[in-house]
Symmetry: none
Subunit: 152 residues, 2 copies
DNA sequence: TTGTTTCCGGTGGGAAAAAGTGGATCGCAA
DNA sequence: TTGCGATCCACTTTTTCCCACCGGAAACAA
């Protein structure tokens, strides 16, 4: 599974070089077939191995078009999802629509989140991390029961 | 199935060029025969492969004319539906009535939603997406049980 | 320990192919 | 006969694929 943040660069054509340590796994699991979409909660992109994405998609199609919140979620996730393929140098080409959404230019961060990756603009990632830690330490975030019983 | 948003342009004659990656599928499934109508929930158009549309249509005819909501839905969908055909350059000609409804001019977005497409004016789509994400992140939307148990 | 060599990951550029765009001609109808 | 519309064709732009180069790191040898 995917862990950790790697600094990566996006070239002028919009190609993102996947760190070498992930490549073999990705080829094994999905022949380099990936799906990128927008993250509903953060100004970044989500990158799934195709089979993993299809699992999520099969849940989304059960959502009702007459529930506004469910419709919105379907719309955002499916409406931005693009199928991508690694080239033989281990790079994926991000379409302009997705790059624009996450404000990606040269420097980016690929963040492993077990079953998927997040793709952040480097600057946004730094800000987001700092902000999250601040919230955390100030104790303003609500705690679910699950969290209260978590030991690190 | 159809996913993702693609920026497309509508030429002065009102022709919309379908992105190349969808064309083969559309020719296979319906020989380029499509149906466009208005989206009851959003200021955009819906574009179905003909067989897919016929499935929906067969459900609509069972709707009662004595239930105001069912009648309205029938009216909107059926009353605006137009049969369209791709030309050999992969373009479909949108009738002025439909273009007007979605405020389509030069720049548009073709948004895949699995069994159908949405056709948005580019500006409207940007606004719609931004507004939805804002609502989402501010946490003001009501959450169904299905949503609460969804993990991305 | 230090220098040299080799391999691998990362990067950029260029060429071929395909897709998008606009124009022109043909036909039909008014 | 003229105007509008539709279909077809050709040109330009974009995209995609592939190859080559550069830099760094590691390994081996002196």
């Amino acid at each position: 599974m995917f862990r950790g943040a790697s600094g990566i660069s996006i070239d002028p054509k919009g190609r993102l070089a996947v760190p070498a340590r992930y490549r073999e796994v990705l080829v094994d699991r999905c022949q380099g077939q990936l799906v990128a979409t927008v993250d509903p909660f953060n100004p970044c992109l989500l990158l799934y191995p195709l089979p993993e994405w299809e699992g999520l998609e099969s849940k989304l199609i059960t959502f009702s078009d007459f529930d506004p919140t469910e419709r919105a979620m379907k719309n955002i996730l499916l409406g931005h999802a693009r199928e991508l393929e690694m080239d033989n140098a281990g790079r994926v080409l991000l379409p302009p629509e997705l790059r624009g959404h996450a404000h990606l230019d040269k420097k980016a961060m690929l963040v492993g989140q077990l079953n998927k990756f997040q793709i952040w603009d480097d600057e946004q990632w730094q800000k987001h991390t700092a902000a999250t830690l601040d919230q955390w330490r100030s104790g303003t975030l609500p705690m679910s029961e699950r969290l209260k019983s978590l030991s690190l």
